[in-house]
């Protein structure tokens, strides 16, 4: 029997349903997709969405991480554990291998490897012949991402052409590409940082411990906090402080800064997120500040 009032979904249910629909379109349209899984909060949400989209079946794609070799151990351990729990295949390709091959050449030994991930990613796409890569980027993260389609076409050099994107109408997605080309797919395009935290709370998703407040040795550089690690040691003259911090986003150690925080539960993180005055990338990314268009530039070079 049909009910007479039109039912509508809560905003979180709507976002989840859209993301499931997008993942299933990838599965239906692409012959060899892959889901990029870093162990970070956005990709953790993506795994839950993939479970909702495909269980009781297996995922119709493997997971892949492009490892810069400069990731927090808590995060890579979590990545491995989560993939094992799900019983899904995890591929790890490393920027260090590209360096050894000579396809990634650093300007100096301490240059951030973050942007060089694009090279390793493109090599992995070629190695496995992936025709689609599903990623957890969100449009609220950055002004160039805010412009990107959900199904985003990349040419054989991995390049995004922001001035000539495919029209994307209704929910009729076009994932077609020729051999060597590639589609990047962003199922949580329309989620904000706040939505992600709400979803993590609702679904009770487990996170790497460094997302919660903990005491960490840091030095202050360019107005941001840089954790003191083997990869980013203190320099002479630095003052090392022990500060209670958490990460809003996890990524390459050399360019991801934590924020000061006491939030040691998801509820408290949500409360802090609701009143924060600084965007996720603004607070935490040391690599985006260099130029006004650095994300757009990197995307044109094949970055996620």
């Amino acid at each position: 029997m049909t009910t007479l009032t039109k039912q509508t979904l809560s905003h979180l249910d709507w976002l989840e349903s859209e993301a499931i629909h997008i993942m299933r379109e990838v599965a239906g349209q692409c012959s060899n997709p892959v889901l990029l899984f870093s162990g970070g909060k956005d990709s953790i949400c993506m795994l839950r969405i993939a479970e909702k989209a495909f269980r009781p079946g297996r995922f119709p794609f493997p997971l892949m991480h492009i490892d810069t070799g400069h990731n927090y151990k808590e995060v890579t351990d979590f990545r491995d554990k989560r993939a094992a729990e799900l019983g899904e295949r995890l591929i790890v390709r490393s920027v260090e291998d590209s360096m050894a091959r000579g396809t990634v050449v650093l300007k100096s030994a301490d240059e951030s490897r973050n942007k060089h991930q694009s090279v390793t990613l493109l090599e992995a796409i070629e190695e496995f012949g992936f025709d689609a890569c599903i990623g957890g980027a969100r449009r609220d993260e950055e002004k160039a991402r805010a412009k990107e389609r959900i199904f985003s076409f990349r040419d054989e050099f991995g390049q995004w052409d922001p001035k000539n994107q495919r029209p994307e109408l209704w929910d009729l997605y076009n994932a077609r590409s020729f051999k060597g080309e590639n589609i990047r797919v962003f199922p949580i395009s329309n989620w904000t940082e706040f939505d992600v935290w709400q979803y993590i709370e609702r679904e009770q998703l487990e996170l790497p411990s460094i997302y919660y407040a903990h005491v960490r040795a840091i030095v202050r550089r360019q107005g941001g906090m840089l954790p003191v690690t083997d990869i980013t040691p203190a320099r002479p003259g630095d003052t090392i402080e022990n500060v209670r911090v958490r990460f809003r986003t996890v990524g390459d150690i050399t360019c991801t800064a934590p924020v000061e925080s006491d939030a040691d539960t998801i509820a408290r993180i949500i409360a802090e997120t609701a009143i924060t005055t600084i965007t996720e990338r603004g607070a935490t990314r040391l690599d985006d500040q260099t130029s006004e268009a650095s994300m757009e530039q990197r995307k044109k070079e094949g970055y996620f």
Binding site: K6, E51, R149, K163, Q165
Partner: protein, 428 residues
């Protein structure tokens, strides 16, 4: 620990509303969105600082609010919008997805992209210029894709001394042209995006206007596209056959995965599978591993059926007795989006729900002249043309008219030689 635990009150969820800003070049669409986010305190400090720096570098005194959405280098260089930018904000009761569409004719296809998913359109008009060709084009497109709410915002009122006369004259002009299109439900609102009048705050200079502010209109608009009960339509996206050896219970599992495009379905309902026409009943409705008694439009679910029927991606499950038309010939309104013209001699691919079919143009009945709203004869269609056409299909599709059902009335045209999406169609 601090008081942060009790800061945000439990958010009452009034769902989600998607809207776009459109209209002619430079009438202030991007500025309006910047203003909306600024006045609703959604722009965070670091974004504001970056906008301030860029504005200063360009020799502007005040912050240029359009920088918030014009995020591409090329857009900032030229001070125009090229492609849609998506922005998000919440009022505490509702989440909004904003699409800032470009005004330039050249980028109309990007406006169509934004319009196709919108529940509400804000059509801006520069108070000094009145109704222009692009105003008409965007209004027509908004109407064509059937956006349920249309708000005409007459902007830059500060440049016409906040004159009610100007406002009334433009409103009359617009209504005359809207009537010819059959656009009925329109709201008019005077604004200054630059100064922030009538957006979140009423301001002091538009006393003669008694209607709601823009944000009040947004909060009150219903997010639903339909005012009638729609039939159940379930295009199959993917078939789940786990055949997990470790779990013998799953050996016979066949789940049909998809999103309910419209209507409602409940366990036990009699359904028909298209194209085979086979009938069966709904055994279970699942999300993840849980079971639901019923599911409704926009939910992504898995359907299990009583009988073993051969079903694959591209098939459609509907309620028995509520069948769509099964057809290899469609009449439609078509927006052509590609630089290379629609060529009547070529074959294209049509994607309708989860189904693809080869297609050939059977005829162009007329092309719409946006200025005069007259029907013209046409042999070919160029980029941004809107026309009534018919297509012959190699495979049947399961369609309703777009007016009746967006999900089963819409299709896209793909050029297989480039894989590009070249057309957007609405079945009549």
């Amino acid at each position: 620990m601090s008081a942060i635990e009790n800061i945000p009150a439990e958010i009452q969820d009034n769902g989600l509303l998607r809207f776009l800003t459109c209209g002619s070049v430079d009438d202030g669409k991007s500025t309006l969105i910047g203003r909306l986010l600024f006045d609703s305190k959604t722009i965070l400090a670091d974004t504001l600082h970056a906008m301030e720096r860029t504005s200063k570098k360009r020799g502007m005194e005040a912050i240029d609010l359009s920088l918030l959405t014009d995020g591409l280098q090329a857009e900032r260089e030229q001070g125009i919008t090229i492609d849609v930018a998506y922005r998000y904000f919440t009022t505490g009761t509702r989440k909004y997805i904003i699409a800032d569409a470009p005004g330039h004719e050249q980028y109309t296809r990007n406006m169509v992209t934004a319009a196709s998913t919108a529940d509400l359109a804000i059509i801006l008009i520069d108070a000094r210029k009145g109704v222009l060709t692009q105003t008409r084009r965007h209004s027509y497109l908004a109407h064509l894709v059937n956006i349920p709410h249309i708000v005409v915002a007459i902007n830059k009122m500060d440049l016409v001394d906040y004159s009610q006369e100007v406002f009334d004259r433009i409103m009359a002009d617009y209504l005359a042209f809207a009537a010819r299109l059959g656009i009925e439900d329109v709201h008019f609102i005077p604004l200054s995006a630059l100064n922030g009048d009538m957006i979140v705050d009423r301001g002091e200079r538009l006393d003669w206007y008694r209607g709601p502010t823009l944000i009040d209109l947004l909060e009150a608009a219903s997010a639903s596209h339909v005012d009638h009960q729609e039939s159940f339509r379930f295009p199959v996206q993917y078939v789940c056959r786990p055949q997990d050896a470790a779990n013998p219970e799953l050996h016979d599992y066949r789940g049909f995965m998809g999103r309910v495009e419209s209507g409602v379905v409940a366990i036990g309902d009699a359904v028909t599978v298209l194209p085979s026409g086979r009938e069966t009943h709904v055994k279970d409705i699942q999300i993840n591993t849980g079971s639901l008694p019923q599911a409704f439009a926009e939910q992504s679910i898995t359907l299990l059926l009583d009988d073993e029927i051969d079903i694959s991606r591209g098939d459609m499950i509907v309620k028995t007795g509520e069948l769509p038309s099964v057809t290899k010939q469609i009449d439609a309104m078509l927006c052509w989006l590609s630089e290379s013209p629609l060529d009547p001699r070529r074959k294209y691919l049509i994607r309708h729900t989860t189904r693809d079919s080869k297609a050939m143009l059977a005829g162009i009945e007329f092309r719409m002249d946006i200025n005069t709203m007259e029907h013209q004869a046409a042999e070919k269609l160029a980029m941004n043309d809107i026309a009534k056409v018919s297509f012959k299909l190699a495979q049947p599709i399961f369609a309703d008219s777009y007016a009746e059902n967006r999900g089963t009335g819409a299709f896209i045209v793909i050029d297989e030689s480039s894989n590009n999406t070249v057309g957007a169609g609405m079945i009549l």
